[in-house]
Symmetry: C2
Subunit: 292 residues, 2 copies
Amino acid sequence: MQIIDGKAIAADIKKEIALQVEEIIATGGKRPHLAAILVGHDGGSETYVANKVRACEECGFTSTLIRYEEDVTEEELLSKVCELNADADVDGFIVQLPLPKHIDEQKVIETIDYRKDVDGFHPINAGRLAIGLPCYLSATPNGIIELLRRYNIDTKGKKCVVLGRSNIVGKPVATLMMQKQIPGDATVTVCHSHTADIEAECRAADIIIAALGQPHFVKADMVKEGAVIIDVGTTRVPDATRKSGFRLCGDVDFKNVAPKCSYITPVPGGVGPMTIVSLMKNTLLAATHKIY
Amino acid sequence: MQIIDGKAIAADIKKEIALQVEEIIATGGKRPHLAAILVGHDGGSETYVANKVRACEECGFTSTLIRYEEDVTEEELLSKVCELNADADVDGFIVQLPLPKHIDEQKVIETIDYRKDVDGFHPINAGRLAIGLPCYLSATPNGIIELLRRYNIDTKGKKCVVLGRSNIVGKPVATLMMQKQIPGDATVTVCHSHTADIEAECRAADIIIAALGQPHFVKADMVKEGAVIIDVGTTRVPDATRKSGFRLCGDVDFKNVAPKCSYITPVPGGVGPMTIVSLMKNTLLAATHKIY
């Protein structure tokens, strides 16, 4: 059994990106610039955005953080999005989700110029992913594929079960895993709350990608000997022994499942660190106009 | 066993559309207008376009057919696409595929205004489908879902196996079948040329959607008793007894498979007639601005 070290891979990739940025600067190019809009003070969002800013520093990117209070109007937010669309110095930007209820998230996403949509949430990027065209892949699917690639995990013709059908993980990662590419070319089954026998589906899988957000959903008796397990779950469970008051809990019962696996991602330190790196990769693609 | 009569359902829907058009006209509205661009004289394309023109008549739509010879330049074709984009009288239009090799199909598709892209091939429509937002669904997936709906076939929690992962059938119909909607909410597996044991996948399925383009691929011993079979295959096989010199052959060995099924679509007369009706539905949606 091998633990997939997302933290180490993420560090490697950030170093690779930093080298490319040095080259760009050395040849007279512009430093990649990622901007982020953060509305309100949600603890999770604050952490994610702070990590993104730090990753920008590690990669040698310029970063700009734009903050709004919880009561910002939709109009004001959309106007800032349009300003960033037009700002030639900003290569890509994100609006940290979730947004307050009075703001139409989908409208905000669709207002972002798809050529700067480094989160990959705009319908054009989602559509190009579905069709198999070059695009900004959204962070989590991108990170999962990169882990499979770096560990040379064989996916071709394998049975891959995706647990969860969300727009940001389940559906796009299922699409990537079934496409004629490596990693990919797998026989993919997407399971969800209405699946009749999710245990049986899991037991038949060579690869399980768990993205349900249900702590320890995947138990040892649901996993085939030698399976590859990718755990996307990051539920915060109260933990009085931690300074933060919580710990991150994956969708997989790691302790009991790990001994049966060929490869498994831990939580934290598996998929998580890869998501921010995916955003950095997209920002570099945007800055170098590799896609649009 | 019940044969799903796509021809009859298609006729019903065309009558429903024609009634809606009469109402539009009666209340002073504009007659829906579908335009089609046909390049060259490919037999299949000629037939499809002729059927689309006839369907427009049945629905009370205005139709315009624009023809180019095989040697039309990409520039000329793109300029016509832009003209149709700007033509306020044209509600929707299609460019019949395939195009000659010297023309970049994807470029043509992406030049079509997505609001007039009634074939649903533009990345914005593919992306909105993937995300689950209202959009022009492409013809075959749209037709399949409509057949399941009209026959009240239970899909929730059922195991659905999709054979084929094309951009115009396999991937989009898989997405629709897994989404939280009815028909839909199924546990979907997408199989293809690299699937290790396609027979076993099929035998486990409650619903098989066969879109491989391999005549009689699905045999009786691959089908569970009581399964629902949707046959998307329409391969032309030589047949000296026919005036045309060929007959359409489905992906399913209908004669031997049908007795085991609860529902099955024949070829021809199953999914085929529904695809053109889907185009008519999209044109009506475009004319009435129901989506964009």
